[in-house]
Subunit: 408 residues, 2 copies
Amino acid sequence: MKKNLIVGQSGGPTAVINGSLYGVITEALAHSDEIGDVYGMVNGIEGFLNGQVMPLAPLKDSGELSLMRTTPGAYLGSCRFKLPEDLDDEIYQKLFRRFDKYGIGYFFYIGGNDSMDTVSKLSRYASVHKSDIRFIGLPKTVDNDLCLTDHTPGYASAAKFVATVLREISIDASVYSNKKSVTIVEIMGRHAGWLTAASALARTDMDPNPLLIYLPEAAFDQDAFMKQIQDSFKTMNNLIVCISEGIHDKTGTFICEYDSNVGVDNFGHKMLAGSGKYLENLIKSELGIKVRSIELNVPQRCSSSCLSGTDLNEAVASGRAGVRFALDGMTAKMVAFNRISDDPYALSYAPVAVDSVCNLEKAVPASWIIKNGTDVSDEFIKYARPLIQGSVDVPQEDGLPKFAYRRY
Amino acid sequence: MKKNLIVGQSGGPTAVINGSLYGVITEALAHSDEIGDVYGMVNGIEGFLNGQVMPLAPLKDSGELSLMRTTPGAYLGSCRFKLPEDLDDEIYQKLFRRFDKYGIGYFFYIGGNDSMDTVSKLSRYASVHKSDIRFIGLPKTVDNDLCLTDHTPGYASAAKFVATVLREISIDASVYSNKKSVTIVEIMGRHAGWLTAASALARTDMDPNPLLIYLPEAAFDQDAFMKQIQDSFKTMNNLIVCISEGIHDKTGTFICEYDSNVGVDNFGHKMLAGSGKYLENLIKSELGIKVRSIELNVPQRCSSSCLSGTDLNEAVASGRAGVRFALDGMTAKMVAFNRISDDPYALSYAPVAVDSVCNLEKAVPASWIIKNGTDVSDEFIKYARPLIQGSVDVPQEDGLPKFAYRRY
């Protein structure tokens, strides 16, 4: 008897996580000789535990499936839910009873390293308990911090967004070319600076901005920073500075925590205004010049206007590859990206042990961070440039992007 | 002898102010029988006073001209410079001597109401001193607050950006659909709420967000706001709230000024974190739920990814119309937009007295602000919807938008 397939999404959304979902669904439907029903978990493994399951095949006929491909966010909804370390915990029995109830033979989970942890634990439980369900992880994160893969779907579109917006912000900042100004742009990335590094792609022969780029992989020194700002004014008036949200000093203290105006809410949580705002006020206080800070914020991970064609194609292909790996009998694997060459850019998809991926983080290599931690090297540019190529036509209605909305 | 033309840009940049410039240059070059050289003031009237003038005809052959059409910012650079009220001030003599030096017969200034003030003063001086230079203002502002015109170039692209990003942010916020959350989006507009109102265009049949919209035209009440938030949670979990940066209470105090953590820099300036951040902390303190605030910031006025085709075409057309008005002998005029009909949308361009436009601000009509100041009416939607139609293909290079950079 044919086994059924279930797929879920987990962690923070990206612009192409639904591309991966689209890849899984279309490939599964194309293998109806081997795969029975195709189900979605609503709100990931947490929703599945609550019985939130929906059939996905009907989306094909309604046209939702093709619309989903270019919809940001997580069509199936997401969760942040960590399974217990103890595989004897009763939650596992409950989950596997539910898998049986739905006749599941193939399990797909699209997410970052926490989600790969889920895949790892489920596949280990299956191994111990002789379940033949195949568990496959599909990578996703704008942070690009997953190990054993050249890069991660979602990163390239976020990188393209960052570089595009930086080029525009620099144009905007240059209009009062006769007045000194600093624009600080705060970019996502608490531990890994991949996305902040992508701002370097914005530079042109005519515009050296962003001139200074600070990643969390290098310790941030406030005195050195102020000196770098003042030195930069010797050659230009309108300075763009990019920082990762997670920049910290050599003691590990986040820069935003130096804000003397930090309040505490009624629940005891610090109310931080962000490192960009802190540095804006620092420069304003010390130099008295025009400074503004811009936090790129969630549009970085959900913009459909700057989708990378390469990224979306790879997300779809990774979903399809995952289904084929499962049909080939594989389990406990994540679909990894192997770069075959930079120019012409070429990629292959390969299974890696999900146990080796989960709960680890891949940082920007130290050798790619140059000029006393204020810039990234040409190696980074060579790595990142191919990823942002190609654009995507997003369906429009009434002048705005048209998206797929889950009706469940 | 043929007179020459000079054009400048002033005030904050927009995504289509270079479209207006493109319109002026192409129309001027097309009338080479009547118009001699075509000059640009670099950094507006302030740069002109310092002798910063560049010839613009060479841009046609270099390809810069067509690239300029889709480049955000202000190609010629901008200034914030108010001419003295006293027309006997020697600055006017200096300016008109310079006009004579360059053989200027046609003067174009692209900007908001401060820039129209410049056009007004120069044309009044010309009238008193029998100068035959023709002074024409071309409207520009993302704020859409110019009087005597249906709308203003730059507004529609900013509105399309706001509505697009809001639709994406709402998708992003919905992924943890089982948890309560508030997302506060702060939108440009210190005195006029046109741009914040545009967020209402983001709504779909499947998504009522942004549910609450607050404009500076209505007094903001913090207690009522907290009640509106709590009431909204009765029907939905993920709430998007849009506010204008300039929301204030009935005493006129900006909401961000209520921040108890406001610092003062060494120059005595208050360091405000913004109304969105303040309300984020207020909700977090009182309700203890997940809240985030997003300031859309300068990308609102410089995004090339969300250019409205209607906006860009109208900006170009307004520049062209201005040149024709000047050739017809008009002076002291601004090119205004008259809406002929909503559906099908049709527009005509007409000269209005620049003296009647300058230094005034057009607010969103009180009757368009509904539901106790938490929403905008269908009249607004009917007004704004046609403006965001159509997209623009921006030239790309290496995966990013390609822009024109002034070499002067």
